[in-house]
Symmetry: D3
Subunit: 242 residues, 6 copies
């Protein structure tokens, strides 16, 4: 019997660590095969320290790839797929989209993850989610590569952006990541170029834990939680009990 | 050991039947004790046929109460609490709100339900939800009737209004009510003054079943479903697995 | 055979002049009986000049009433109903609402008008619209004063507020008031305490005429128009041809 | 004297049937020349049954074209223009857009129709409307193919998507299609691959008829209506009477 | 010459500490006279620990007042005005509103502060802002207590709520409070019943400092900042230079 | 020492005149070097009069360029950069975007300006702002043309579109342009093909002056102002005093 699967679609190499590293590690522990697609290494736009040090483009990419691989290993990622399409701006041509569609179909994820739908600071992020929706649609089409197994209707969770309110991002789901916190912290510490974000995203996890507790009962029965992540759902849930 | 519980807060006597009768019956079958609070009988504003027949106010209220009780029985409602506060417009004074707070605390619901937050056709509906949020807050206050068990943080689901798009209501949860459809239909048929709505809300359930199926997998693995209800959540969920 | 009718619900005495004076005059010319309900005279909050002159409350109200009556006559208003409920803040008790319901039922308007739904500068305005919706609902209730003719489902148009963008007001209907412009200007000139607004609202009418022209065909067949008013509809239209 | 005209811009071959077949048939009966532009046949994404049967791409397209032509005939479409650009994802290059502009100018529509502006399930739909707005703008430009008759400012109506609330679609206009219902049903029945949608969209029409009735007077004077369609307008209306 | 002034309107005793304590301390240091209006002590709804200890209502109120006074002193508040109107739910009668209007006029604030406009967790908060807008309007009315100095048009800043995204609160202004951080922390530590919030709101200030830095230049010239607070403006600014 | 700088990004040649001519002239007077980037001349879509006169494309472009240069001179623009990329529809290829990035980096603007984020009448406008955000992001990337001075985090102001409410544009900043009004009017009068807009945008400036006055104190201390412009900010401000 095969494992359940999940697919994270990340515009830049490090996004999957800060924004959903806990979800990855938690589901990996639960037996999910988690695939991470990094469309770029964030080499041009999110590697300031390396450029200040005078690294070349190839060096920057190699370093970022190394960090992403190390972080993925800490988190228990089953497969890290680097598309290496370039960033700032990220652009997917038709064949790149089809490659992403192939991956979606191969993984057959129980759920997918990507960025917020609006981000005036980082247009790669909102573009990535637009493409994720487009590729999800293509993957569902019976006439695209007929004979392949088509995709069902997995949820697309939007993970937490920087400066949430500016992005119009509103979490509807808080996930307790306390059991895997050490893994997320370890993965973050693989990102040597963004040391200042280690504590920033630790605090994010602590604040979200407070929100978890409030929404699970608050001062009357709220479950304790020390670290959490928040997600916004694009699609409705289908349930048998509320 | 006590049962799980749920509380439906309905501005008018019939709302709980059309809008969440399936959820009530389903959870009753699952062993929930479901309490329904009817703040009014909808006697002035939602009983046109009876007034056209020349009934008096007391007669209208008695008939509407009878219908609500019959429907509640069909659905397996544990307790039907009629506040009899009048409709069009419904107004809750401080003591009425405290009565509702008492009920909330007594029930200690795992989840609550009420109307959409906007309804230009029916201001009772949006007022009801505003009051539901206010009373939920009071029920959580340790200083309100100290010594009583305070409320945790139950979800408030907004059930489906008439003309959803005009109300800005967006469902994020579809519940399969196929197993209890006969009960919902039977309950609707207790509402003799609104015969034209029996088929209307049957069609609503059929359309929502289509949406259930699409969101549970669509043409590739979507679970079959013949009748469903949709709900909008006010608060985020707290989960251990996505 | 009776005339068609319209009802304007204005929080303060002058609102109906600036915001829909053209619509009033135009429909009066078309044979509508137009009723204007002024819930207050705007005596406290919109009569700065009179207070600076040292007038008493009774004097201010008398002057404002006089101006409103003069303006109403210029516009061809059939009936000006002054509720005299006080402003800043305007409050309607249950009996005041019922008086407004009585008026709505008496008029049986083909359409109603009131303020924008949001106005952080003037909470009387948004309160007025909230009450207009509530009273419209009560007027539709067969159980409210049974035997009276109940209200149908007239459109509620929201007329133009000051600083439209701050109010979240978006016009969906532009009305050409060129044929009655002289009447609107004459009515505005009855408002002696707000001389600075005469030109302001003349310019509003000119800008809206530009918008009328653009939306009726622009540079290719757009109908000429020199003065217009804009309105936002609360309810959908029902038509036999698009 | 020439007839009035309308133009429907449909991403996939069947959209015009389910979403505005009634409007087409009704306006055709009123003497409009109605042109339908199908940018693709929906061959890859909306023909699951045919692919399951093992049809080839050309066969699927031929069948879908045939169904679209049969449906168009039932509805009284004057001209069905198939662009055959491919779906999932639909992409219009510059020359494709100019072809659509040419069509718009040739038709000189009194009104246009297309999809909702947001659709996370189907990115072709929202892309189509974005392109429709772009091409409407180009068609208005005096410097595009100078000498041609430029476009005026026709309304763009957004027809009803599947799962309206998820798309943020809000109808502001309900059209009574009772007189042509048989034609719409007959056209739907030309779509042999989507039999399950015949009843789905019949129920949609019945629900919209209920909304038509409520908004035309409700329980006091609401006009009877058995089948209706809803539309959202992009642009304001320009009128001489409210 | 008199000092510049500011007015904070806080539903419960502690809100002004967590949400804008830095702004208070900073402006106090700059020479502003800062007045804080606490409409209630948060005695019923925000004093869980005290109730668990078996305190009486009077004891709870006295303790909360003491904490508020101590915190106000740490922050350099010029005047702390406790209205003692009760919480959960907070209600202002006409005379209470007039008392707040009197205070606004007395203070003649250069800017005002209050809560977010939406808060489904705490209806006192959104009610407070609604009343703040109403009282601001009354304070501007020349006919309210004629002869008094009327209010100008001060900005109303909405300070940061708990769970910002759920409240639809979006900050448009970040204030560097690094110079007065010690005062804010000291004021927070006066709140003995909510020790768990000391670190929570310290982290909030650290995250907002990161946002301050990003918006003041990011990795290229962003000004360093260790603690900040965010605010949402209700009204537009008027400036002589962008 | 170098001057402060600003950059206006205008889809068509005339936009910078109508929409922010006052801001340009005012900041030029204050010593800013203001650069205006015109991505096209608006030759196809906004030059109806010239096409009606039978001008050729080259003639239209030459005339539009001449008008833009004349207007720029009146306003005190330091540098007018015409990209000449064509309009209706405007499209920027990768190299065009990089050219705009180069310009942004060269200018190092203290603030940027562009169009509203939504415009169903003119898709060039919303596309322009989308590209402006993308190029702002690239200009901030340390890995784009390493060695160049990267961009900080300048505000992006959205200037006033035509029919503001239809564009969802909400001004949060009003700028007093009274001191430079004559220059703006003179610049507008350079636009010989759009004479009807001279008075239209004069009235816009007068209405915004009224809003300026209301928001700077209204009837109690509002600063006088005869002409103003409004702007919407994309990013939060960072301040040391509220």
């Amino acid at each position: 019997m095969t494992n359940k699967t999940a697919l994270v679609i990340s515009a830049h190499a490090a996004d999957f660590v800060w924004r959903c590293g806990g979800a990855i590690a938690l589901h990996a522990e639960k037996g999910y095969d988690v695939t991470v697609a990094c469309l770029s290494f964030g080499e041009r736009g999110e590697s300031a320290r390396l450029w200040k040090e005078g690294k070349s483009l190839d060096e920057v990419k190699a370093i970022r790839r190394g960090e992403a691989e190390a972080a993925a290993e800490k988190l228990g990622v089953t497969r890290l797929e680097c598309f290496d399409l370039g960033d700032y701006s990220l652009v997917l041509e038709k064949e790149d989209k089809y490659r992403l569609v192939d991956l979606i179909r191969e993984v057959q994820p129980a759920f997918m993850m990507s960025h917020s739908q609006y981000d005036p600071y980082n247009t790669d992020h909102m573009y990535m989610t637009q493409v994720a929706l487009e590729c999800r649609m293509i993957a569902q089409a019976w006439g695209h590569n007929p004979g392949q197994k088509v995709l069902g209707a997995p949820q697309l969770y939007l993970f937490e952006p920087h400066q949430t309110e500016q992005m119009g991002w509103k979490p509807d789901t808080f996930l307790d990541i306390t059991p895997v916190w050490d893994k997320k912290r370890a993965a973050m510490e693989c990102m040597n170029g963004q040391v200042h974000l280690w504590d920033y995203y630790t605090r994010v996890a602590q604040q979200r834990a407070n929100h978890f507790k409030r929404n699970s009962g608050g001062m009357s029965g709220g479950r304790d939680c020390h670290y959490a992540e928040g997600f916004q759902s694009i699609f409705p849930r289908t349930v048998d009990e509320l």
